[in-house]
Symmetry: C4
């Protein structure tokens, strides 16, 4: 009943390590991914099986399968793999799962989630097809831009300052989210996502043109609240555009006079 | 208690085949149609008794009645008919039901659902009055167009390539959905829907001008997720129109450089 | 324990006829008004205690109180009055209740609901502050118009042809909803609502400028589905306006060729 | 087990006064704050840990902690402080809590909530990041304005006339909500909020530029319904702006002719 410590699949056995996705704890990743995805469905982030979420607990990575209705997902639908075992794999494109669901295929988002875990030590990564995210990339495309930039909005404080930095962005700081071009196959996005991570070492998100956004955080709480804050800002940005209001402004800070 | 094997109605008997809509299985069509329609109501797809859904299980077709509040539907409200028996009927407009609810009338959508089942071997067909769908048909009307066309959006991958073809559309593919003109009586749409199916053999949906959309799929999962993806694209298209962004673009594919 | 048959209040007694609002049947008006209002709250129709609903069951009229949070209402909050007793009242502005909740005040909407019951024999009347309704009245105000008119939209079929007429409007019919000007006190709207009912004998709804809409029907089902259909059309109309699309068009009917 | 009557923290003891947040009554502030915040989350008011709510019950003030997901809050997450003890504090910026949750930090909103309690004797104060509120402040910024003004909309009646005044605003009254500039640190807003309260003695809300809104009321019911009414008006105002409709108009009152 113990999982293979090497992280290699339990070949030639009938043991599928189902215990890895069986828990009474609602905070267990195999329970949390379905409940998060059901919530994301109501927000329009994972419409029509698009988008998803992955959680890392130490060496173990929990992943939703491909093509599942996100509001109907069950813990038994979840894939589990070992980061350490994956790192030893000869090919980046081949993945070995500790536990697989009986009927599904692995998600094409898998290598993108893994990039957040390996390059950023993230504890959770969320991918949405939010139409606010897509509209922002379309507006930026018309401007020939590969960066979403917004400043002087309170909700910007919802983001951490960056990888291995403590504290959050401030109200007057400019939040910068890189945009990468979409590829025909989602797996092929991986190198461009990693490139963006290298170029923007402090970002917690990467927009994908005409596709959506990847957002991560040190843990589920941070990934989810950063993803919410970002979607809020994307929606605000689209509405500001419709009203002719600029995303970047030069605001004189308001200084408190009282010292008490 | 056994249903008539001929599919003809149990005339001169009091047997209404109620067992056909009685099941403890939430995946049984008589349970699934009410739960799907309740969900669709929250999405604004079946407002004010408009719209609906039908499921085919082998030869049996399960149908919501006319004029029912879609979020309050019960399994006992469901009609059941036999496709084989219907095919033997002398008139297309006369339908014989294996099972009828006690108080309702059959839906005018019935022949349109049957078209998806007989001409496309669909397992489920959904009809929505989504205002995004209606707005798209109005925008196209102003352009004198009878086709919704959009390309280079990730969500397009949510659609199958076409009838009896395997695989899904790609990111760069153009999704084409025909638009038919609305008729005074919904049943009269049938010939135009069938015509559109003939002219667009690979489409899984037909827009109805100033009315809504019919979407089908090989099974409930595919019909529902295609319907969600389409509604997402209709909403995006309306918002793109408001922002002055074109639905069809010429995007240079982004080619991955890494071979691993 | 029997209610006073005269419909006069049970003066000098401690009997408040609480049994009139106590029932295990979810379809009982005292249970239905709270559940409907909770649903309407999620639709944005009864924000901030605005709006409401009333049901008539024979001679008895069930009413929500003033100033209650609509999504939190309880059966014990409901007022009950007798139409017959009310008709004998010397003053239109004085109302005698068979049953009153212990802490609330009667709603200012009461005489408007009563107008629908007495002049139209309605079984249910709904009042919303839907911002789609308000926006439609504002757009019409700029055009100097006192009528909302829309045609050639499928959802128009959601309305009955008119008082004591059978059947519903058709797709090509023009739905006409009169607009009355708002008054400082909601009770004062009554005469203008009644005037509009006289001038538009077949309407099931009256818009109130900068305020919202009153919608009724022969029963709860019809009032609710007509209210939903109307809100759908108001939303569509605002979006059409934003896209520069006209509400009234001249559409050539599409005639079916097949006779089968 | 009795709380310190001085309101000072129970130093050198292990007693954290947890009983202050333990109750079976759903109307107890420690239960009400989580259920209200969960509702506000669905309205988009407290996205990504932004915003919050505080309730005062006599001398005791109940506060949500900083950085918590508002739809997941639990009674055990709540801070409690004594207004009287706080008033004796040497520094405005130092606060002593009767009861603190084990893992969180106090919210930066705390002094702003306290301002509503001490300067207005409010029973509840709500802070939202509603994007309608933010958009209104952005539109006003472009106009160089520090006041949101709207009149002749029915929902304006949802507001009280002012501090220690009885009755509500009327339909033709102009609702005026002051706008203060945002500061880098939320606590620093306090003096500007208090300044706005002094300058606008009858307001129940203060907008914060590019940030959101603070709304209070004599009790939870009033704070919540005023906050809902205000958000409704902000949304309407943004939509009116998009349609080119003015917020302030000169409307001739409609006078009833009937005297009965």
């Amino acid at each position: 009943m113990t999982p293979p410590t090497t992280g290699l699949p339990a070949e030639n056995t009938t043991d599928n390590n189902d215990h890895l996705v069986q828990s009474d704890d609602p905070e267990h990743p195999a329970n949390l991914i379905p409940s998060l995805c059901a919530k994301f469905w109501t927000l329009g982030w994972v419409t029509g099986t698009g988008g998803g979420a992955s959680i890392r607990d130490g060496d173990l990575v929990y992943l939703a399968p491909s093509g599942v209705q996100k509001e109907l997902m069950k813990p038994s639908d979840i894939y589990v793999l070992s980061l350490a075992a994956q790192a030893q794999s000869l090919s980046r494109r081949q993945r070995v799962y500790l536990r697989s669901p009986p009927v599904y295929k692995p998600s094409q988002c898998t290598p993108l989630f893994l990039a957040a875990f390996t390059k950023r030590n993230a504890g959770c990564c969320i991918h949405t097809h939010s139409h606010w995210a897509v509209l922002v990339t379309l507006i930026l495309e018309q401007q020939g831009s590969k960066e979403f930039r917004i400043n002087n909005i309170e909700q910007i404080k919802g983001f951490g300052k960056g990888f291995q930095k403590s504290g959050n962005l401030g109200y007057h700081d400019t939040l910068v989210i890189p945009v990468i071009e979409n590829t025909a196959h989602e797996e092929d996005l991986t190198e461009f996502l990693e490139e963006a991570m290298d170029k923007y070492p402090d970002t917690y998100a990467v927009l994908v043109r005409r596709h959506g956004v990847y957002v991560w955080g040190d843990n589920v709480h941070k990934a989810k609240t950063q993803c919410e804050s970002l979607d809020y800002l994307f929606q605000l940005a689209v509405e500001m555009k419709q009203l002719g209001l600029p995303w970047i402004t030069d605001i004189e800070p308001t200084i408190p006079t009282r010292k008490d």
